[in-house]
Amino acid sequence: MPDEILGELSDALLVVTVIGYALAMLGFAADSAINRARRAVPAAADAEPAALLATGAVRATPLDPRGLPADPGLAGADTPPPGSVTPFRARAATIAMGLTAGAALIHVASVVLRGFAAGRVPWGNMYEFSSAVALTAVVAFLVLVARGTVDRRLGAFVMVPVVLYLGLAATVLYTPAGPLVPALDSYWIKIHVAAAIVASGAFLLSGVLAVLYLLRSRHDERADPAAAGWSLGAALPSAVALDRASYAVIAFAFPIWTFAVIAGAIWAEAAWGRYWGWDPKETWSFITWVLYAGYLHARSTAGWKGRKAAWVAVAAAIALIIDYYVVNIFVVGLHSYA
């Protein structure tokens, strides 16, 4: 098939992907909205968390402000008692998950076709890069849901930046498929940029989780949460679970980001004659790295655990966004491959 047709097909599939993610987001939101009365039900069916609770020796788990033991895990803890689940609500979440998984598959197809259309790996400019990062974030979310680390209803929140990313990519950042500029023509693009994409997608997800943690913990600190009626914080999973999930994602992504920065330095040495030159993108990659290192440190420092650490994670995610978009668009350096 000629390259132009492949390219157009890839673009069309991306549009379908965005629609799919947006519908999934609505489905997840509908799921949360329909069940308005949130009650934290101790997971009677889960033996291991019960063991944790019974011995009363879990270090970091606080008690709910309402005096009930805070749910130790996500899966099942916020499920209302059986019988109160309306059939529509249960189906809404399942449909939304199905839409997410299906749209992710179409997204993969879009990225792969783009690669065939351009005759190279499909991450050579900002448009392709944004698409790949959004795909990684969605895949990371799906993996976490499958492992039970994250509740699937968080898809409503995760899809927001994903849809924004893709919308931005398809409109403002779009360029037709074409060959790479000579400086990018190296096998390192598969290593450095691929690692950066995986780490960025995961960091994007962890940023969403950190924001959700802050919302939930602010809700927990209110004097009488039940009197506020429906609130966003009440609809979220427990703060402990969100904190743990966001840590798990960052602990996964941080070594990959470190590797990406180092691989970039090795490539820079081959292409530009020096492995580190404080080019604006290199500088912001460094700032992002330092802030995530700060997050990991904060989680082990007295007085910085919990909310402050989550704020550090949010700051680090913002640094990442600046690294990709602000630097590429507003600052001209060696890295300007828009």
Partner: protein, 530 residues
């Protein structure tokens, strides 16, 4: 839960209580040192480091783009001198930036010492004794079996050792510990950071960077005087330069129709030393020339105009390829041709532009270039006669013309020459554009700290992977003989464990272990604990 010695899994050094009646200066020093090496200080310094790097990315930096800095200073005459005083145009070499990362490294090294000692001790130490009441641990289990206690403990010990736990048997009870790699990885990561700093410092102090413009057909030998521009490290000695030499045979560039570059290649003949045999090589972006410890990178290119200038007496006053500097992506290049030694008459010079694919605006008569490929090359120049200012002794750029003591030829009308054209100069002499050639700029770097930095980088990634994935955990097992446990008839086995992090995953591991250890005929002494 009280922090018993058995349950203390933290690898941070225990806080030292203040010594009563110590000398106040020493106590202050020690307290200051404790503060510096504390996690909180490290955290604040990390944030400070990130903050300090921000202006270095938004303001133009001398190390990256000195011309941009000059433009900024001209554009902001009030603000710029203050920014300059605060070293904001040279952030990463600024003393305050160095202060932040040096303080961070002092804090790091100060923390590493005790932690390495602690970890060395922990690696040799045996896992602690079995706590008295195992059921108080975060994860615990208990079952009854008809096997005698020694057999139970034997089976358990074998299973634990097979799973690579460190096991110690005391008085018929087992203590096991696993996950030392976590702290090993952590220490490896932080030590690698120190190694990285050493590698970077070595490169900065003993390294060298130089750039040189080489015309097609010309040769270049790596010696200090031959470079156009050098930045050696503080302790770099010129005799450390690798004495390779090269000759640029041909520079080739291909472009897309839209003008974007597709490939760059410089065909050279080179040799690693003055007496060695030359061999061919093609230097490309991402494929530098490597000779000994030096690397030569292709970093730029442009056009040079091959000109022949005759003076009024008909003698050849200049015959060479004059490099022109590109001004835009379509390679409209500025040219300055100086003729300082005519056999008769005044010095003269030409200044103008070279356009590889020429297009001329019919209204304004301005020339521009549509495309970087030399499809329609034209040299457009204005001639001058007078004093070039070369003999005055003040240094000037070969690419700039000082017209203060020059008068334009022929009322300053610009002349256009295609390759092969000759311009009869008013007042005698002629300028012939013989042809168009190309030049390439090479950057040569020597960095003795590169390998150390690379190894340190690899150590960082390896250390991180270990320290973020391995968990430190402990497991205890005790078998009470019949008559001692709650049930007088059979052996009661008690097991318990704890983990420093990721309690869910450890709970799963614990239950997998006990599932393997307990025989299928075991009876639960406590109801409800599945």
């Amino acid at each position: 839960m009280t922090l018993l010695e058995e349950t203390r899994l933290s690898t941070a050094p225990a806080p030292v209580p203040p010594r009563p009646g110590g000398r106040s200066f020493r106590t202050t020093l020690r307290r200051g040192w404790r503060q510096l090496t504390s996690m909180r200080t490290a955290l604040l310094l990390l944030f400070l480091l990130a903050l300090a790097a921000v202006p270095g990315s938004f303001l133009p930096q001398r190390g990256l783009n000195p011309l941009q800095v000059q433009d900024y200073i001209k554009a902001h005459p009030d603000l710029a001198p203050w920014l300059d005083r605060l070293s904001l145009f040279d952030v990463f070499a600024a003393p305050w930036f160095a202060a932040v990362y040096l303080l961070l490294f002092v804090s790091l090294i100060g923390c590493l010492g005790p932690r390495i000692r602690l970890h060395a001790r922990a690696l040799r130490a045996a896992p602690p004794r079995v706590p008295a009441v195992l059921s108080r641990l975060p994860v615990s289990d208990s079952w009854q079996t008809t096997q005698p206690p020694e057999e139970v403990v034997d089976v358990a010990e074998k299973a634990l050792r097979a799973a690579r736990w460190r096991v110690v048997r005391r008085e018929g009870a087992l203590s096991a510990e696993k996950g030392y790699l976590r702290e090993t990885g952590n220490l490896l990561f932080h030590l690698s950071l120190v190694g990285l700093l050493i590698g970077i410092a070595l490169g900065g102090i003993f390294g060298f960077k130089g750039t040189v413009l080489v015309k097609e057909g010309e040769g270049f030998a790596s010696a200090i005087l031959n470079y156009d521009d050098i930045s050696p490290g503080r302790r770099f000695a010129p005799d450390r330069l690798v004495p390779f030499h090269l000759r640029l045979k041909d520079f080739r560039a291909t472009y897309r129709d839209s003008g974007e570059a597709l490939t760059f290649a410089a065909d050279i003949d080179w040799a690693p030393g003055p007496d060695a045999e030359t061999r061919p090589y093609t230097v490309r972006v991402n494929h530098p020339l490597s000779s000994g410890g030096a690397k030569a990178y292709l970093i730029g290119h442009g056009y040079s105009v091959q000109v022949r200038v005759r003076d009024a007496a008909g003698q050849v006053a200049l015959q060479e390829a004059v490099p022109c500097l590109p001004q835009n992506p379509q390679f409209l290049s500025s040219c300055v041709i100086k003729v300082p030694d005519p056999s008769t008459g005044q010095q003269f010079a030409f200044e103008g532009v070279f356009t590889p694919t020429t297009v001329q605006d019919p209204v304004t008569r301005r020339v521009g270039s549509l495309h970087p490929a030399p499809d329609l090359p034209v040299l457009t120049v204005v001639g001058f006669r007078g004093d070039l200012g070369i003999d005055s002794g003040t240094p000037g750029s070969v690419y700039q013309l000082d017209t203060s003591r020059l008068t334009p030829m022929g009322a300053g009308a610009a002349q256009q020459l295609a390759p092969g054209d000759t311009w009869r100069l008013p007042g005698g002499g002629e300028l012939t554009l013989v042809g168009v050639e190309e030049w390439a700029t090479f950057q040569v770097t020597q960095d003795p700290g590169k390998l150390i930095a690379l190894l340190a980088g690899m150590g960082m990634v390896a250390g991180l992977c270990l320290s973020l994935s391995v968990r430190r955990r402990r497991f205890w097992l005790r078998a009470l003989p019949p008559g001692q446990g709650p049930d007088l008839g059979s052996t009661v086995v008690q097991a318990g464990g704890l983990s420093r992090s990721d309690s869910e995953a450890f709970a799963r591991e614990f239950h997998a272990l006990t599932h393997v250890l307990r025989p299928p005929t075991a009876i639960d002494p406590d109801h409800g604990k599945a």
